[in-house]
């Protein structure tokens, strides 16, 4: 029966007694001492001979190894395998390796700490600690303190351990047997697990698909691009006229799309004046607008000698002719809005500010090419 014993548990009510019992039993080396207490007991760790954790030293060691490996690797890469002078520094510039060394140190240290703690020192995976299945666990988690002598070899004598505990003041003693393990990592268990995951994914996916597509009864899952909406330039069954794009409400215009209040440039000339004061910045703006949009046909000085349109046989208007010079500012604005002859409308390309600035600039060009005598 001794081989079937995991540990012998002795229950105590008094923290002093359990510490004394541990001090008495430990030299007899009956087995590995362990204590289960509902609260920390000072001195108990020393009494059961619990050594300081070796984790720190292990982490230190692995950290140093990581730093060394990083240094070696970087040194090998930059000085041996692919020597490349960077910023005129020596090939083996350890200062530049420090960030990566730091990262690798942290990587090694954290992985060592986590994995060693879980698997080396805590002996995980450990499915169901036998003490959790003991009768004493209820009192241990309430008010009793338990000293456990764990079997470390086949020669462990449960009866000796029981006697030792009773002699040293244990109120009751329980022998915890070795539990019967289910082996979770067997081939069958593995296959069952995988099959279960696959089945769960398939059922969930198929169910969602069916709900979403075949029986669309789940409103939040309707795709956004499948929602009922109006598309510009598309047919829509929603409105009686079958158009997705709606005409403006009668008597309204879109903001910023006021239609011109004139039908011809001549009419514009009688109606409109240039609202912009002719200042240096507006003149410069007009110069930019003119050079960008007008000069390609009307020429940089507005003489109608084109930069480009000559290639197409065009004859754009000459702003320097007496006929065009005599026209009011509004006429130029009207031509920009409505177009004239072969010239297209610039209603969509410029805003009113730029149009009026360009009109100012045309006046400036006319002045430059017909300067007064005192201008010279």
């Amino acid at each position: 029966m001794s081989s079937g014993t995991f540990a012998v548990l002795g229950l105590f009510s008094d923290a002093h007694k359990i510490v004394e019992a541990a001090q008495q039993i430990r030299p007899r080396q009956l087995g590995r001492l362990e204590a289960y207490t509902p609260y920390p007991v000072h001195g108990l760790d020393r009494a059961i001979g619990l050594a300081p954790s070796r984790l720190g030293r292990l982490v230190m060691l692995m950290g140093v190894i990581g730093a060394g490996l990083a240094l070696l690797f970087e040194g090998w890469v930059s000085a041996v395998d692919y020597p490349l002078v960077t910023s005129g520094k020596p090939l083996f510039s350890w200062q530049a390796f420090v960030p990566v060394m730091f990262e690798v140190t942290v990587l090694f240290a954290t992985f060592t700490a986590g994995l060693a703690m879980l698997f080396a020192f805590n002996k995980l995976p450990f499915f169901g600690h036998p003490v959790l299945h003991s009768k004493a666990i209820k009192s241990i988690t309430r008010d009793k303190l338990a000293l456990s002598i764990e079997a470390t070899s086949a020669t462990f004598d449960a009866e000796t351990a029981r006697q030792a505990l009773l002699q040293n003041g244990a109120e009751s003693v329980e022998i915890v047997p070795v539990p019967v393990w289910n082996r979770p990592l067997s081939l069958v268990g593995l296959l069952r697990t995988i099959a279960g995951i696959v089945a769960a994914c398939a059922v969930a996916g198929a169910g969602l698909f069916a709900l979403e597509k075949l029986i669309p009864i789940v409103p939040p899952m309707v795709h956004m691009h499948e929602q009922p909406k109006l598309n510009a330039f598309r047919v829509s069954s929603f409105f009686a006229d079958g158009r997705g794009m709606r005409p403006a409400v009668t008597g309204t215009v879109a903001r910023g799309h006021l239609p011109p209040a004139f039908a011809t440039p001549e009419e514009a000339g009688t109606l409109l004046g240039n609202p912009l004061p002719l200042t240096q910045p507006i003149a410069e703006r007009g110069r930019k607008v003119f050079n960008d949009h007008c000069a390609i046909c009307h020429g940089l000085v507005g003489d109608g000698v084109p930069l480009l349109s000559h290639a197409y046989g065009g004859k754009p208007g000459n702003f320097l002719s007496n006929e065009i010079r005599a026209r009011p500012d509004g006429h130029y604005f009207g031509v920009l809005m409505l177009g004239k002859n072969a010239m297209p409308s610039y209603a969509a390309d410029l805003d009113n500010h730029d149009r009026w600035a360009a009109v100012h600039y045309i006046r400036i060009l006319q002045r430059a090419q017909n300067a007064k005598d005192e201008d010279l």
């Binding site: 065009g314 006929e323 010279l376």
Partner: protein
């Protein structure tokens, strides 16, 4: 030491070492050359003062030496009058010049052969004249008629005034246009011809002064007379006319320009149309289009009052 002596370098390792040293040496040499030829001269140049101070003009304003708009100023001059004998009747020299000018100025609409089928003809309404047919000439096809058309254009059509072409060259065009039509152009009116000849004899052609555009900008900006913004009624003024002004005038300075521009018009309807057509750019709110007659009276009265107040000091 003894190892090195005992194993003499092979030919291959020797060559490798030499090549390595050569590569290193040439790399260093190239680096020095780069520095000597590029970096050092660039640094030296940077220390030299700029020949021209950097311009603060916007980029579009400095197209550079290609910019005709910045050509140096030139004084205008008068070309002497022309002897009518050289231009009143066609001659080969005149016709040759006319052909060139026709291609430059007329053919885009009237077509190379004058048939009214140039590339831009389709955009014009009415269509450009077909010079090969006697039909539909608005002013007629006599020498004086065509000269007038070229000089002043035809209102209500795409025909512009080509008054920037010198009169003698216009006559070259007249004869070229006439030569394109094979039909009988009929007898000329001697009186009109004589008047035209007199014009050539008496008047030359004036080439105006030209100045750079940047100078023209400065001159024109300096000449501008500032229009003071319309005085808006104070906020505590809650009278109907004050409320109306606040509603209608979106931008007092622009509205002041508009008022000044339309000040000479006596016709109230024309003023109303002009203000409404220019809104909101002209400083008035678009609501100005929907004023009643009494509201017009109110606003004109208050504007006239403020104008007088503005003039008083």
């Amino acid at each position: 030491m003894s190892d090195e002596q005992s194993t003499p370098p092979t030919w291959g390792s020797e060559a490798k070492g030499l090549a390595n040293r050569f590569a290193l040496g040439s790399g260093v040499a190239v680096t020095f050359l780069l520095f000597g030829l590029i970096v050092v001269p660039a640094l030296l140049r940077e220390r030299r003062p700029l020949a021209r101070p950097p311009s603060d003009q916007p980029a579009a304003a400095s197209v550079g030496w290609l910019d005709q708009a910045e050509a140096p100023a030139s004084k205008g001059r008068d070309l002497p009058p022309v002897d009518p004998a050289t231009v009143m009747t066609p001659n080969p020299k005149l016709l040759g010049r006319g052909e060139v000018l026709f291609k430059q100025n007329c053919s885009s609409c009237h077509g190379e052969g004058g048939q009214g089928n140039g590339p831009a003809a389709g955009t014009l309404n009415p269509r450009p004249r077909n010079f090969t047919q006697p039909a539909d000439w608005k002013r007629g096809f006599h020498v004086t008629d065509i000269f007038t058309t070229i000089s002043t254009g035809i209102k209500g059509s795409g025909m512009a005034a080509f008054d920037f072409i010198m009169p003698a060259d216009r006559m070259a065009l007249v004869h070229t246009v006439r030569s394109l039509g094979g039909f009988d152009h009929g007898p000329e009116d001697p009186k009109a011809l004589a008047a035209l000849a007199d014009q050539f004899r008496s008047k030359g052609f004036h080439i105006p002064n030209r100045i750079p555009v940047s100078l023209a900008i400065k001159k024109i900006v300096r000449e501008q007379v500032a229009v003071p913004p319309l005085p808006m009624p104070p906020a505590e003024d809650k009278s109907a006319s004050a409320e109306l002004l606040r509603l209608l005038i979106a931008d007092p300075s622009r509205a002041a320009r508009t008022v000044a521009a339309t000040a000479k018009r006596s016709d109230l309807a024309a003023v109303a149309r002009a203000w409404a057509a220019g809104a909101p750019d002209n400083g008035f709110a678009p609501a100005v289009a929907e004023l009643s007659a009494t509201e017009w009276g109110t606003i004109l009265h208050s504007l006239a009052g403020t104008n007088q107040e503005a003039k008083q000091p």
